[in-house]
């Protein structure tokens, strides 16, 4: 997929905080940007097909929905098993993000990160135990890092 051009970037900047909540949101956007509505829709469809847009829809505030506990679970697994285990853990419906990240030995032996959400810490801990069970003997150690406090959350903001 080709990188976004200047017009794409203007669409991104205009929509990163949300789509207009009006009956014809793409037309409202097109009017605001001085573009044709067909052009806005075609460009957004191309960005969606190319993965620049992951998805379009409601972005829930998980804390407000009652998912008060969030544990970053970190796992030490053999490098040659990480693709298989990562896919397995990433597919679980209570895991929001699952990444392979570098170790920092000797301080930090963990190479697989999975964010686990639950209504409270007991739920996060049960779900983590479930992951450990699924991994079986391949798992060499893990920890749950509970979040205590959000120090900043502005999200990413792009400028055109």
């Amino acid at each position: 997929m080709k990188p976004p051009d200047d017009i794409d970037r203007r669409i991104i900047v205009a929509t990163q905080a949300g789509l207009p909540l009006v009956p014809e949101p793409y037309r409202a956007l097109a009017d605001e940007l001085g573009l044709a509505v067909e052009d806005v829709m075609a460009r957004m469809q191309a960005m969606l097909d190319g993965g620049l847009i992951r998805r379009i829809g409601a972005v829930p505030n998980h804390y407000a929905l009652g998912y008060r506990a969030n544990g970053m679970t970190v796992w030490d697994v053999p490098d040659d098993a990480i693709a298989e285990l990562g896919k397995m853990v990433g597919a679980l419906d209570f895991v929001s993000h699952c990444y392979h990240r570098p170790r920092h030995l000797p301080h930090w032996p963990y190479n697989l990160f999975a964010m686990v959400h639950g209504r409270d810490r007991d739920e996060v801990s049960e779900k983590t135990a479930h992951i450990a069970e699924l991994m079986g003997v391949k798992e060499r150690g893990h920890q749950i890092l509970y979040s205590q406090r959000i120090l900043k959350k502005t999200g990413m903001r792009f400028t055109a």
Partner: protein
């Protein structure tokens, strides 16, 4: 705390992706949920205003837009925690920052427009705080796509 009824839950559960790109997308989405367009728009406006939804719209993939992202961690002495949080948060590129219960007690996400800026930024934060920053960029992404049950 804001409350939700059965229809709010149906909206949140049904619309975490797949919102159509067509001239009247709210009408189309409303039809699949079984409510009117006006009701969907009113409820979405309220859910956003009450903070149950962070927003409604496209979620962009930062790296594919040409930017760079990394996760970084620090071990901050308790008595300097607030001061260091302020120093770190003072950088516009810090998108999220969480206090976590661990020896590495501060975890933040850096988002820059150019990949080369990540290393510079980390060096800056280390110089300002006098603390080591562990850079943990993702090597592979297995899945992003949690759907929260409302």
């Amino acid at each position: 705390m804001a409350t939700m009824d059965e229809i709010d839950r149906r909206i949140i559960n049904a619309l975490q992706g797949g919102f159509p790109i067509c001239p009247a997308p709210y009408a189309k989405a409303a039809e699949t949920i079984g409510i009117s367009q006006d009701e969907l728009l009113q409820r979405l406006t309220r859910l956003c205003a009450d903070g149950l939804l962070s927003r409604f719209g496209p979620m962009y993939h930062a790296e594919k837009l040409g930017g760079a992202l990394t996760l970084a961690a620090m071990s901050v002495p308790e008595e300097r925690f607030e001061e260091v949080a302020e120093q770190v948060n003072g950088h516009r590129e810090v998108a999220h920052n969480y206090a976590r219960e661990h020896h590495l007690n501060m975890w933040f996400v850096l988002a820059t427009e150019q990949p080369s800026q990540i290393d510079e930024l980390i060096a800056e934060i280390e110089a300002e705080t006098g603390l080591a920053v562990f850079n943990m960029p993702k090597r592979e992404e297995f899945f992003i796509g949690l759907r929260f049950e409302a």
